[in-house]
Subunit: 363 residues, 3 copies
């Protein structure tokens, strides 16, 4: 298997120059590329490593002088980073999941599988579930009662989807992703210490310790089209209505989405982010790794949170935030700089105080 | 299927008024409620949305004027939030797991299953395991050798319970919860850089780099009655004795409980919390989302940690803490306010210094 | 089953004194030890609890006066903490996984299993996979197409290994560990707000909101010898080349390793750590629980990060860091102390300002 330089360039809509009939087997980094590899060198820095490898073809940048790099051909996309999307789709060797229904899968008679659906070994599909055409249910997956998946979905191994979850088209789930566990919602018979501490910002009041009663999740989860969910990410069911994730939103690994949360469209959530119950996240938001969103707050469209940011209150649309607690990034960076000088500042103020009290006393 | 208003009110011990024979099919939010739905409107704010929906019955608050809201009946619990517990239990449609032992489950001959136990498709129950009466082992679960579960437990899909783990009655585990992996305990042949840095608070000493030797976990995990564990949460086995979780304690998703940890009764742990090895957490504690507890420390009864708080040293009983490092909440909030003024403070002190040194020099 | 005191001491290379023929059944904590248990009492504090139990033999420290503790024998290792490694290996009761290939496992005809390999119930081994001699594939595990595991590996239940992943000898994976999910790599057709905000440290520029295009992972994951991976930890595949983890490195539970990351040898990573894409971590590094490493940065050999530390930029070799953002530990501890005095400092500066402006005005 292989692709000519021409085929690749045509497929991703990029300009190509040189010997367009050379055949490419795979993509490589410049320094380790073999003679049949396409070296990925989107900047002059990477191109400088081409001489350490054997590539005859590279993907460079617009106007790159590929001949002087000793190449026989080059692909020159307008935006090399975006070209990676088409290129990697073309060259992806995939997981090799077999087509068709594996005989070891346990599929309820009342489940409806669209045309071209494949189901891996030891997967379970429950009563009333519906799987859209050409979707792939990976090995050892679980699809709950009355759950609905759209067409062209791709579930890796050991994904679990709870009862009544609804998911759109082209959904991708990485291994161990879990949709539709019960929300974490407990209540004490009488108002308790947490409710008091939230109101007073710290005081627990005099409530006696109590046991917790469970609030069941009557809702499920509704997910739009073109959503991707990473390994071991978890999405809770809603209490009364569904937890919702919009179209085109992408979730990395080990993210927790609490009950009743609403996430908008085309939002990007990095690994290990937590969004607590009932918060609302807008469209085109980017949440950096390990950031956190408190419960019952609002994060507006186009907000960007830097890595580790903890949003404890609403964030207006368009803001770029950093830190714990979340602060506008430029202010936070100024605070971080000031913090490094804080121990010295304390000493300076102490000595100022001495001088002033002395001169003040001298008056 | 449905319940009359009278049945619902009786079941949750709440007052009801109006046409008590109306039949309710499900609970809904006020704005989207249909004519056979019970609208959940525990505050005047939510009640204001009733006119956008078609509900004829709502759950309101004590003394609410339901007639003026256009309703034909109302349920008026003393504490609406607590009433949610009974109501949602009554209306929960569940996961639809079938009763009985699925023929595809792999159950060792020496395992003992109590009366009324059900085991889902492709679950594994190992030698010597004992499952209490009426417990539900979900699809694709794993129960290890000699593990013991009490009666009336409910395990969702893909839960795994390691060898010798002991769990009480009415345990609930969400998908992917994992109990009894080996603890993370490694040691170098000679005292290493970490041991030195801990003693000196930063200096690594001169130890040469070494490889790590594994300390095996001889203990397992012991869990009390009425415990719930969220999706993909992990609980490590103890080194010599068991890691322990008390009665009535609830764990959200993606929590990590380290080896030898002891968690008390009726404690609530929110998503993505980590508790490092050998720490002890009291009763009626609440740990906010993404908070963390260092190893070998003590967190007293009724402590509340706000979201993201990192407790690096002991926390006395009854404290409400926030921040990294954990600080009493009222002090931390004062510090956060002061931080926003810190860059300006630096400039002010610099200008004060100029004035003072000038006036000092003028003396 | 049991071991004499002599056998245990010989096995771990420690000195023993007293009745070396006493037979030990298991290890225990001093206070709860029975008459056939070996009490673990590596310090005088723990030895003080021996009188609460019934132990006749204890593991103590060099030169301990075991007779005065009422014991009949003692094991006296040079470094008791290191002796725990050998001792717990000897006494580990294990998970009881059966030898051989369970008939319910689904193994592709083209997979190659070395001598002595065992495969648990309902495990899946895909086409072209190769498993080294004496390795144990636990119940309900998944091994992807063309994946390679070395000899003497041990996989607990529900571990998943993606296509083309390569792992060395003596690998240990705890339940739910996931290797080789696709990396989280998305790009917009035109340069977007995040790219702009990164360059300007906060300003999002004027890019219109766009949808995300997926960059596929063409690489997989390469893991060295003697690596251990904790429960529900996830390791992403690389984009062009493999994500890599060196020899002797140990990962705790719920860690996320991003695409293209390189982790060195003998590095210890504690629970819930996240390492973002393309970062490079050296040898003999220790990353404390819940710490985080930004993408595309470098963390040198022997770096230690305290719990919760967020490294947002490169960390030179040998540094001990703490806090968010990561700061040298001794400086950070000074900053933390100063922060507690910050609200008071603000008031002091305000009053200084008054005095100075008054005295300044008086001039």
């Amino acid at each position: 298997m292989g692709h000519t330089v021409r085929e690749i360039a045509d497929s991703i809509g990029a300009r190509a120059e040189g010997d367009l009939d050379l055949v490419i087997r795979r993509a490589s980094e410049p320094a380790s590329a073999g003679p049949d590899d396409l070296a990925m060198a989107s900047t002059p820095k990477y191109a400088g490593m081409l001489s350490q490898g054997q590539a005859r073809v590279a993907m460079l940048w617009p106007g790159a002088d590929w001949q002087s790099l000793g190449l026989r051909a080059a692909i020159l996309p307008e935006r090399p980073r975006f070209a990676m999307s088409g290129l990697t789709r073309m060259l992806d060797p995939g997981q090799g999941f077999a087509a068709g229904i594996h005989p070891s899968a346990v599929i309820d008679d009342s489940a409806e599988l669209g045309e071209g659906v494949s189901v891996g070994p030891l997967a379970v599909i429950s009563a009333g579930a519906r799987i859209g055409a050409n979707s792939v249910i990976g090995p050892q997956c679980f699809i709950g009662m009355d759950a609905v998946l759209g067409p062209d979905c791709f579930l890796r191994e050991m994904v679990s989807i709870g009862a009544r979850v609804q998911i759109g088209a082209r959904f991708i789930a990485q291994p161990g992703a879990r949709i539709g566990g019960d929300g974490f919602s407990f209540v004490t018979p009488e108002a308790g210490a947490v409710e008091h501490a939230r109101k007073t910002l710290g005081d627990q009041g005099t409530a006696r310790p109590q046991s917790w009663a469970r609030i069941h999740s009557l809702g499920a989860v509704t997910i739009g089209d073109d959503v991707e969910i990473g390994m071991n990410t978890t999405v809770d069911s809603g209490t009364i209505r569904d937890t919702r994730i919009g179209n085109g939103t992408k979730l990395d690994c080990q993210i927790q989405i609490g009950h009743n949360v609403v996430v908008g469209n085309d939002t990007l959530i990095c690994a290990q982010v937590g969004i607590a119950g009932s918060s609302v996240i807008g469209n085109n938001v980017v949440l950096g790794g390990q950031s956190g969103i408190s419960d019952n707050i609002f994060v507006g469209d186009r907000v960007i949170l830097g890595a580790g940011t903890k949003a404890l209150s609403n964030v207006p649309a368009g803001r770029t935030m950093l830190g714990y607690p979340a602060t506008q990034m430029e202010n936070q960076l100024e605070i971080y700089k000031a913090l490094r000088r804080l121990p010295r500042l304390l000493r300076e103020v102490a000595s100022l105080r001495k001088v002033v009290s002395k001169s003040d006393g001298d008056d």
